[in-house]
């Protein structure tokens, strides 16, 4: 009976510790991994559109750097650590610039830029 009394709190502490470690690890991975986003935007061609999109995306909280690839219609965003915006925020910014966003992908690193021959 005495043994059981000591064993139960020990198990609870171990469980809490495991759970918190797991969620910390997940959060850590999440923050470490998601640093970039790429948005495919159709119809972006003239410089006024491209720089307009850059302006609207830059207004998102946490955005550190933006690269607009006019030729391929891709906007790449780099976020400050732990400040990755959600899809809706990014999509709204794209709409404010007068475009309809297509795909929005989050990633750990940006892929090499595609260049057309």
């Amino acid at each position: 009976m005495k043994k059981k009394t000591f064993l139960l709190p020990g198990l609870i502490i171990l469980l809490i510790s495991l759970v918190s470690q797991t969620s910390f690890a997940q959060e850590h991975v999440k923050q470490k991994e998601l640093k970039y986003a790429q948005v495919k935007v159709y119809g972006m061609a003239c410089p006024f559109c491209a720089y307009g999109l850059e302006k609207k995306l830059k207004a998102i909280d946490g955005v550190k750097k933006i690269d607009i690839d006019v030729e391929n219609g891709i906007a790449s965003l780099e976020f400050e650590k732990g400040k990755v915006a959600d899809k809706k925020t990014i999509a709204d910014a794209v709409k404010k610039a007068g475009f309809t966003p297509d795909s929005i992908i989050f990633m750990v690193e940006l892929p090499e830029k595609e260049t057309k021959p």
């Binding site: 061609a45 006024f48 720089y51 307009g52 302006k55 610039a97």
Partner: protein, 271 residues
């Protein structure tokens, strides 16, 4: 120029018995590490807004760089007040118009703030600002401001305007994504639309000088030249690659075109 257009101009020339005005490709000024958007010529120099490098570039008429002026946040279609040699620089990113005079920069005070000013023009105390995301023109006259246009596609509406120009108490607007030029008086009354039937594919820049209206057709890789009534007179294509702005010098009849597509300035001469 296609066959129909050549035929039209030939008939027009024969019919009126006039000697045609000829616009001749003169030369190209390549620009290294400069992304030109706006261009304006003063008496002896060319000024270019270098949008990707956030600066103004002063060039000689032959293309040598004379000065680089940093600190502008995405400068677009610039204007020059010739009476006091002052440049007006719309900052697309900062939502301001900067005044650049004798190397000093100040900010134009506005009651109505633009959302990405794309172009500016000055005339007899008036300052007009093309408000890109606001789909309107802010017309300032000393302390007063009026708003011209609203978002839309009807006559008098605007859809992403990118540049403005004054001529004889009329205001000409490059109504970029309505693919036309809208003309208003200085009270904001709509007067006429130009170029809406000519297949313009994004009218990015405008210049009105010497009884001509010059319009850049960005995706069409053309410059269209109209008379003041809006009749198409000439189409220039040679060497033109995604043009964004132009400036005409009445003195030596030279037309300077900012070629965004290949980072150069094209020069045409009127013969």
């Amino acid at each position: 120029m296609n066959t129909r257009q050549i035929l039209f101009f030939t008939i027009l020339t024969i019919g009126t018995g006039c000697k045609p005005e000829s616009w001749q490709y003169s030369r190209v000024i390549p620009l290294e590490n400069i992304t030109p958007i706006g261009i304006i010529r003063d008496t002896d120099n060319l000024w270019v807004s270098d949008v990707s490098n956030n600066r103004l570039v002063k060039l000689s008429l032959t293309g040598e760089i004379i000065g680089l002026y940093d600190g502008f946040r995405r400068p677009m279609n610039i204007a020059l007040s010739r009476s006091d040699n002052t440049l007006y620089v719309p900052e697309y990113f900062a939502d301001t118009v900067r005044i650049f005079k004798n190397g000093k920069i100040s900010t134009l005070q506005l009651k109505n703030l633009p959302d990405s000013p794309a172009g500016v023009a000055v005339y007899k105390g008036y300052i007009a600002i093309a408000d890109f995301f606001g789909h309107r023109i802010i017309l300032k006259n000393n302390g007063d401001e009026i708003i011209i246009g609203q978002k839309g596609h009807e006559f008098g509406d605007l859809y992403y305007p990118t540049d403005v120009a004054f001529y004889k108490d009329e205001l000409f607007v490059a109504d970029a994504y309505n693919n036309r030029v809208m003309v208003y008086d200085l009270k904001g009354n709509k007067l006429k639309a130009i170029g809406y039937e000519d297949g313009i594919n994004v009218a990015t820049g405008i210049e009105v000088a010497d009884e001509w209206v010059f319009v850049t057709d960005f995706h069409g890789n053309r410059v269209l030249i109209y008379d003041l009534l809006g009749n198409l007179q000439r189409i220039l294509t040679e060497g033109i690659n995604e043009p964004t702005d132009l400036s005409y010098s009445k003195k030596d009849k030279l037309l300077y075109i900012a070629n965004y597509g290949d980072s150069s300035i094209l020069v045409y001469q009127k013969k």
